[in-house]
Amino acid sequence: MSGGSYYVPATSKWPVLGSVALGVMMVGTGMVLVHGRGALIMTVGLVGVLAVMALWFRDVVVESRQGLYDAQMDRSFRQGMAWFIFSEVMFFAAFFGTLFYIRVFALPWLDGEGAKGVAALLWPDFTASWPLMSPPDSSIPGPAQTFSPWQLPLVNTLILVLSSIPLTVAHEGLKEGARETTRNWLLATLALAVTFIIIQGVEYYEAYAHYGITLEAGIYGATFFLLTGFHGLHVIIGATILAVMFVRIQRGHFSSDNHFGFEASCWYWHFVDVVWVGLFIFVYVF
């Protein structure tokens, strides 16, 4: 609660343009999915959304560098980012909940266990197991084999967990005014992020080409791609944010005591990191 007068930002055309762009993107997406055409509309919408985000954030950066924002505005940004990450946590909570429900309740019940065991009448030959290699209905293919957690997934875990170290060093460097340190270690973080994304791409290729793990491969394939897919999307978003931070560092943005944009990107990266640890444990290991 500041003692002086308040800062209220000026009007902006980006929010309303962003709404329109998002609407166009959704209409295009729906047309592609339902009617198999409309890719152009979808692309225009997507480009519009990305452009609006870039321009809107640019305005905020410019205003911040003009020194228009006071301590209260800074706290509002922190609140906004923290609660946004909380909403993302709940988004993933729904997917982890799905995984647990399927593994702990749904499959054993289909196999005739417990209070709802009568469900076993549907597919008497079904045997519950995890990973579920043969779904109840034999017309639905299961995965041929699953990934060993101790190969690529372990490498990716190490990459993502270790990427927090250079990021923290970069942050410490920024706080001490050592911009070279910040730039170099941020670059190292970005390299790890890109490596992670590439390895994940390799794994997806392997999944479809050799392992029979597809979206259609019963509930195992569905939950595998739901969790790793949305996580991968968030890694790409997080890496993009870090890349923007790299450019901003290059251009001499941020000061040693005022760099919430950088801090927010660290928060986001750590969130992506923590989700992966959960994924590694419950999707790959157990």
């Binding site: 799905t98 399927i102 109840p136 979206l215």
Partner: protein, 544 residues
């Protein structure tokens, strides 16, 4: 709790605001339509939300009247069953997501900054974005009615596999429109939390905040927690429909019941999202017109928080007949009945506030009092439904319809109307026309009870919900319900008339429009100027 300003303060605030000492800081807003498209002002965005919600209230209301017209007498008389299903579904979706929720967000936009002494919302541009997503989302949703195969026809709860395997092609568009609405809700809620936690006037502690602010803080927390779960479950639907996954298909190892768990993990907190701000409004109005401080301010806060926490632990009471293990039936039955305790605390506090008060019956008070009585009826039928063995009889009957309409129409909607009547003088500078408002009130009360009270009886007698035809023994109850619904619908036109007349003129209202009102919003002039509290007011706590 009744924060009061030092006596000299209102004058000081009003002069500085009227004189526009900061005029240079605010360039002339763009004129015409652009002003509304670009606005970042919490009052203008609040008005946009309220107008949008009123329009959607009428669209959703027309859908409801189509349903009631078909049910006026037994037999298939007016519309095809497929269209009937689309009408029940769209009525629910529009009323929940496009009428009630935006109305509360509109009130939050207008009143939270005024009640905590802030110049605006914490993130004004995000605020504009949150609003303008809504027309985009709901134009897309309404357009599904015109698509081949029709719009959503699986009920507002869109249970899989009705909404996946057996759904019309437009379902993909329905999912995408709900995604946009969800983004709007999450961003709006983040903004409200940041505003309340960060923008309070110096000296205003959390426990000094008006209850409308408190209830909205907790509501916004619920929104941020559960709207992403809704986004998750509709994404899984989208994948089942378009990408061949088997989340809700047991043949592939999935489970249709999983859909219900995920949906109601969102859905139950959602129903509290639609009632907690109503509690806040009523907790402002009753003390004002009873001319007594609210009884049990702290217990109101704790009760609100308890209801919010419990709301995460009760979701499966919507699923008692789906075949849950006995332990789950018992757990969800007991947690659900526990909610009656904090809710009872609230009703007790409202009644105790009225006790020996100097009560007057201005229009906001009429609606607030009707809220207390009629919401309690809905709450009590909720306790009946919470009893798992009894629910086996009530499930999917008109008794359930009666229950949730009592908490949502004379509950949430009456509270919104009470809030509108209460704050209209602050928004427009004029009092609403009392005679017309009284007509609106009495017609609404009669209409709402004629519509929904008979549903208790037809439901207990076994009439199923969401069916366009019914057995002859239900004819009389349905006739009364249908007549009541048209009376209620028509009486809302009176409401529109009151609002329009109030905007255009009427008896002038002073800054403190109601004699017993105490919160900060009554310290700024009526109508509130476009920019208020440009320098933070000094908040003086009243000892209580």
């Amino acid at each position: 709790m009744a924060p009061k300003l030092p006596p000299h303060h209102p004058v000081e605030q009003s002069t500085s605001a009227v004189a526009g000492g900061n005029a240079a800081a605010h360039p002339e807003p763009p004129r015409g339509i652009l002003r509304w498209l670009l606005t970042t002002n919490h009052k203008e965005i609040g008005s946009l939300y309220l107008i949008f919600s009123l329009i959607m209230f009428f669209i959703g209301g027309i859908f409801a009247l189509v349903v009631r017209a078909e049910l006026f007498q037994p037999g298939m008389s007016l519309i095809r069953p497929e269209f009937f299903n689309q009408m029940t579904t769209m009525h629910g979706l529009i009323m929940v997501f496009a009428a009630v929720m935006p109305a509360f967000t509109g009130l939050a936009n207008w009143m939270i900054p005024l009640q905590i002494g802030a110049p605006d919302m914490a993130l004004p541009r995000l605020n504009n974005f949150s609003f303008w997503l809504l027309p985009v989302a709901f134009i897309l949703l309404l357009s599904t009615l015109l698509m081949p195969g029709g719009g959503p026809n699986f009920g507002w709860t869109f249970y899989a596999p009705l909404s996946t395997t057996y759904a019309p092609p437009s379902t993909t568009f329905f999912i995408l429109s709900l995604h946009i609405a969800g983004i709007s809700s999450i961003l709006g809620a983040i903004n409200i939390v940041a505003t309340i936690l960060n923008m309070r006037a110096p000296g205003m502690r959390m426990m000094d905040m008006p209850l409308f602010v408190w209830t909205w803080l907790i509501t916004a927390f619920l929104l941020i927690a559960v709207m992403p779960v809704l986004a998750g479950v509709i994404t899984m639907m989208l994948m089942d429909i378009n990408f061949g996954t088997h989340f809700f298909n047991a043949a592939g190892g999935g489970d249709p019941v999983l859909f219900q768990h995920l949906f109601w993990f969102f859905g139950h907190p959602e129903v509290y999202i639609m009632i907690l701000p109503a509690f806040g409004i009523v907790s402002a109005i009753i003390p004002t017109f009873a001319r007594k401080p609210l009884f049990g301010y702290a217990s109101m806060v704790y009760a609100t928080a308890s209801i919010a926490i419990l709301s995460f632990l009760v979701w499966a009471h919507h699923m008692f007949v789906v075949g849950l293990p006995l332990a789950a039936e018992l757990f969800f039955m007991y947690t659900t009945m526990l909610i009656a305790v904090p809710t009872g605390v609230k009703v007790f506090n409202w009644i105790t506030t009225l006790f020996r008060g100097s009560i007057s019956f201005e229009p906001p008070m009429l609606f607030a009092l009707a809220f207390v009585v009629l919401f309690t009826i809905g709450g009590l039928s909720g306790v009946m439904l919470a009893i798992a063995p009894a629910d086996f009889q009530y499930h999917d009957t008109y008794f359930v319809v009666a229950h949730f309409h009592y908490v949502l129409v004379p509950g949430a909607v009456f509270a919104i109307m009470a809030g509108v009547y209460y704050w209209l003088p602050k928004w427009t500078g004029h009092y609403p026309n009392v005679k017309l408002a009284q007509w609106h009130f009495w017609l609404s009360v009669v209409g709402v009870n004629l519509t929904f009270f008979p549903m208790h009886f037809s439901g207990l007698a076994g009439m199923p919900r969401r069916i366009p035809d019914y057995a002859l023994q239900f004819a009389d109850f349905n006739l009364v319900s249908s007549l009541g619904s048209f009376l209620f619908g028509a009486s809302q036109l009176v409401f529109v008339a009151v609002v329009i007349l109030c905007v255009r003129g009427g008896e002038k209202a002073p800054a403190k429009a109601w004699e017993g009102a105490v919160d900060l919003e009554w310290s700024v002039p009526s109508p509130a100027p476009l920019h208020t509290f440009e320098t933070p007011p000094t908040f003086q706590r009243q000892q209580h």
